[in-house]
Amino acid sequence: MTDDSKLVARALEGDRKAFEMIVRKYEQPLTSYLSRMTGEREAALDFAQEIFVKAYCSLKSFRPAYKFSTWLFKIASNHLIDHWRKRRLPTVSLDQPIDDGDGPLMPQVPDPAPSVARRFELAEIRQRIERALESIPEAFRELFILRHVNDFSYEEIADIKSLPVGTVKNRVFQAKEMIRKRMAGS
């Protein structure tokens, strides 16, 4: 039994301190994900609270055979989808071809474009990535964040999003190239 599973078991027995430990462990990864998905600090904190409450109320449905982090982020991802659906924001289907207005998204190397990253210092690259990230479709942004901000494996992301691993790998790659192209254009 993992540490998370033990904490969940204790929380199910009514030990609220155990659930507080879960919150403290996951508050940063969850808000890092949500802030980049919503683009708003306060909204990210509100969503994170709602997601932790939702997770607490559904703790009985958690199976210790699975990773708690994957289970929690599945709740978070579904929470965001529900929110966007209610607000009727346009969403991008992962099954549709992507046209971001800059031509096809399957570049081969060697790329004739000059080096994008080496023009900047690392800190500036990070800032430019954050700005570029805000402009890419949310379905691609989410997979990129889960992979590189939350450090989930491709298999875990596939589990969270109920997608084939190959699709996840390809979409994360497309997200990276979208970011790179936007950086080159800025």
């Binding site: 919150v23 808000t31 190397v109 990070r126 990535i129 990276k176 970011i179």
Partner: protein
């Protein structure tokens, strides 16, 4: 690898997600392709930035604010069943009153009489069951003490060698029975 690799493979290589065969082929290609080396260096910098984006700064009281929003756990144990029973009784009484038209005080008197009758009938029965149980226990304890006394007399009459012999025979018979049973089971599996 004669043709240049896909950009996707460069990222997978940097993440350590490329298979061993593909990694060898990519390395061999990089040695003779300056354009791909350049592309890889660019992606390496990007990859480094992707994997070191700053985390969100969470307010120090965030966890406490989450805990304040959690619903209170339901009182465990006796309270919930007690409340449910009381509620069922009230609903039952009201239902009876509505369907039969009898006044609530009549219903309560009737319920009281019924409960009294049940107790009056069940108490003598419970007392008889208790007496019979007590008698059975006494008989069983007498039987056990007679058996122990008989064993003591028997062991004294056959002496310590006889007791040892009987114990040895008992162990031998038990082992033979276990061995025989295992053999029977294994034969069953083979067939």
């Amino acid at each position: 690898m004669t043709t240049c690799p896909r950009a996707e493979d460069l990222y997978l290589y940097l993440e350590g997600e490329l298979g061993a065969h593909e990694t060898r082929a990519l390395k061999a290609h990089l040695e003779r392709c300056p354009a791909c080396r350049e592309a890889l260096a660019d992606r390496r910098l990007l990859h480094e930035a992707f994997t070191s984006l700053p985390p969100f700064e969470v307010p120090p009281d965030f966890a406490l604010s989450v805990m304040a929003r959690l619903p209170e756990p339901a009182e465990a144990g006796w309270l919930a069943p007690l409340v449910a029973s009381a509620a069922s009784l009230v609903v039952g009484l009201l239902g009876f009153h509505l369907f039969t038209g009898a006044s609530l005080s009549d219903v309560l008197v009737a319920v009281n009489r019924f409960v009294g009758l049940v107790i009056a009938r069940s108490l003598p029965l419970a007392a008889k069951a208790f007496k019979v149980g007590n008698l059975l226990l006494k008989v069983a304890s007498d039987l056990v003490s007679i058996a122990i006394a008989g064993l003591e007399v028997f062991s004294r009459s056959i002496g310590p060698q006889g007791v040892g012999l009987i114990l040895g025979l008992g162990v031998l018979l038990t082992l033979l029975a276990i061995f025989g049973a295992r053999r029977l089971l294994s034969l069953g599996e083979k067939t």
